[in-house]
Amino acid sequence: MSGLRVLVGCKRVIDYAVKIRVRPDHLGVVTDGVKHSMNPFDENAVEEAVRMKQKKVAKEIIVASCGPTQSQETIRTALAMGADRGIHVELAKGEEDLQPLAVAKVFAKLVEKEKPDLVILGKQAIDDDSNQTTQLLAGLLDWPQGTMASVLEHSDGVLKITREIDGGLEDISVKLPAVVSADLRLNEPRYATLPNIMKAKKKKIEKMSVADIGVDVTPRLKVQNVVDPPVREAGDKVPDVSVLIEKMKEKGHLK
């Protein structure tokens, strides 16, 4: 193989360091004026693709994002990390509630268009924690999948993947073309440096709309209610073990 074409997906989400506030209408969280950045797992995905290119395993990295106008900034960050060109599927008014199945359908169309050998996505977005897009996309394409990857090795059209699973680590072998989702321990993402940010401004970002692609992105799930977790109450300090046992019995934790 002369080098793989890799399609990487990234999502613009509220920055992980921001203190989240529930909207007054309890249908979501406040996003206006709040700092956003690239989803952390997507940083791992981009970084992995860039490393593959440095090792000459990959020859081209295309980064794609579905989102509002500001998603362009997220794509630019990926370009500054080393991706070659970008695709921005810009959402129109009324399309903002884009759910994993819709994203998977959009990416399936992008795959049709760009014909990559490998798709790498972040394992889940930190705003909805769905962890579905990779799996749905693999299903739509009928491609093999390697999710929660913490090690990725390529040789001759086959990917050796170590997956992080509840019981520990699972090693699988997957034939290309395939869809992979990146986990946190896959790599340590690089910082975009100023010279690379400057260079990224010159890289191409192709813009298209959902209508251009011809995908039905109607949401299938409706959020009914979003609330804060209950406020933590002050603890009780007891003088000795016998009082502790008494209190635990009172509260029904002990018989």
Binding site: D15, A17, S37, Y191, A192, T193, L194, P195, N196, I197
Partner: protein, 495 residues
């Protein structure tokens, strides 16, 4: 005049005794009554005022060897207006106030020697603005340097000053902190553009003017650098505007051992004189390398070792590393190794990164103390030799780590907190070392500050003229002496 000044001090100490001074001071400070606390509760909300023992102990403790001195209460303001109102009240009632950032200081700066309240600033967490094109950022008192760096990572910028701890940016202003890359980026003194400060009487000021962030200015007195390093004794720093720098494009790391400390320092001098734009030059002595070998399972040669870091373009760092190799080898350097790839660099620098823990691991349970002096680089070898002479009767290894590019080094000493003789020996060592540093034109503190333990050394260091000027400034800005009393300048020099 100078002689009278020193005679007066001697007389007061000898005849009146320090104890009576303290008693007299204690009796003139106001008491933090429930009524006052309730008024403060009205300002910040009652849940932001606490007298719980654990909160008070936490806020009277830092990373120094000074024992905990708990305040009478801990107050957590949410904004500058709160701080101003609290100061106005405390000024009226003469209540000591100790600003508290992250409690990571090394010189006992947070101890409430005369009681009063700790002003816990950790809830003021706003990053007010970042101007990436202008390379500046403005942060409130509760923002730590890690939080700031996290915030600006996507812009290709970082705030490079890296004291070991996750300190707050305003706390770093307060102690004029510095880190391993001061040789490249300078210390806080060179990186603060503007400060918002609340004075003892509640006055709010902006040292360079509100909202201003000029890269350079000749406008009026340099108030910014008056408050940088003032350790909470002149006012409460509630906001800082700091310089940002570009994240390096490429980094290379190198390591080289030497037969003697003199050879290592000679190599450093030549490297600096060649104009190599070093990012970091760190020195570890044999004892430190031994500790690190044991802790991290390395097998470095137990000899004085330099750890170097270069930044720039990929071609640039390679060039720098090659030149540095030439200079090290030319000074008897051995085992020179360098790398550009991230994990390789981490491996080379592993000893340096873990040295604090490596030393603590030699005697788990003992408290670790770090000395802090600066000398002109040419005096590094003889000063370090002198350290070993001073430590001879302590019969312990003497691990030393130094930011040799600045002539600043730290000896790590372990002590059993329950063993007063050990603690006294360490204090004596530290004092003798500071005096030696001063005698060769250096300073008794490179980055940790004066705090509690180095007040007498400060007098010796700056001399009577500067000392009386500092006293004048302190008394003008804080006439009731409520701002972190007992730190930097002892109360008996102020009354």
């Amino acid at each position: 005049n100078a002689e009278y000044f020193f005679f007066k001090q001697w007389y007061q100490r000898r005849v009146r005794g320090a104890f009576w001074q303290q008693v007299r001071c204690l009796s003139t400070y106001g008491k933090l009554t429930d009524h006052i606390l309730s008024s403060i509760g009205d300002i910040v909300g009652p849940h932001n005022v606490t007298t719980s023992e654990s909160a008070r102990n936490l806020h009277g403790t830092d990373e120094s060897f000074h024992p905990t001195q708990a305040p009478d209460a801990v107050v957590t303001p949410l904004n500058t207006a709160h701080v101003s109102e609290i100061m106005r009240l405390c000024h009226l009632e003469r209540i000591p106030v100790i600003p508290f950032g992250t409690g990571t200081g090394f010189e006992g700066g947070v101890g409430a020697m005369y009681g009063g309240l700790s002003l816990a600033l950790h809830k003021m967490t706003e990053i007010v603005e970042v101007n990436s094109c202008d390379f500046d950022a403005t942060v409130r008192a509760g923002v730590t340097r890690h939080q700031l760096n996290d915030w600006i990572r996507a812009d290709g910028l970082h705030f490079p000053i890296d004291p070991g701890a996750g300190a707050s940016v305003c706390g770093m202003c307060s102690t004029s902190a510095s880190g391993t890359n001061a040789v490249r980026y300078g210390t806080m003194r060179e990186n603060v553009l503007n400060l918002e400060v609340v004075l003892a009487d509640g006055t709010v000021l902006h040292t360079a003017g509100e909202g201003r962030r000029p890269k350079k200015t000749s406008a009026g007195y340099n108030l910014t650098n008056l408050f940088v390093g003032s350790e909470g004794t002149l006012g409460v720093i509630t906001q800082a505007t700091v310089r940002l720098h570009g994240i390096p494009e490429a980094t290379a790391a190198a390591i080289s051992s030497f037969e003697s400390i003199q050879n290592a320092v000679d190599a450093v001098v030549e490297i600096l004189q060649c104009g190599l734009p070093m990012a970091r030059i760190e020195f570890l002595n044999s004892d430190m390398i031994a500790a690190c070998n044991g802790f991290s399972g390395l097998d470095l040669t137990e000899a004085p070792t330099l750890f170097l870091e270069f930044i720039g373009s990929p071609a640039g760092v390679e060039e720098q590393a090659m030149l540095a190799e030439e200079l090290c080898v030319g000074n008897g350097g051995e085992n020179f190794a360098w790398a550009t790839e991230h994990s390789e660099r981490e491996k080379l620098w592993k000893a340096r990164h873990n040295c604090w823990y490596a030393v603590k691991a030699q005697h788990p349970g003992k408290h670790a103390y770090s000395t802090d002096v600066v000398v002109p680089i040419s005096h590094l070898p003889d000063t370090i030799v002198h350290c070993h002479e001073l430590a001879a009767d302590m019969d312990v290894p003497l691990p030393i780590v130094g930011h040799v590019g600045d002539g600043n080094f730290h000896c790590f000493l372990l002590s059993d907190q329950g063993c007063p003789e050990e603690v006294i020996k360490i204090k004596d060592f530290s004092r003798a070392l500071a005096l030696r540093a001063q005698s060769v034109g250096g300073s008794c503190t490179g980055e940790h500050g004066i705090g509690l333990g180095k007040r007498e050394l400060l007098i010796k260091e700056v001399g009577p003229g500067a000392m009386s000027t500092m006293i004048l400034l302190k008394k003008s800005l804080d006439p009731k002496l409520i701002m972190n009393p007992g730190k930097v300048i002892a109360l008996d020099h102020l009354e």
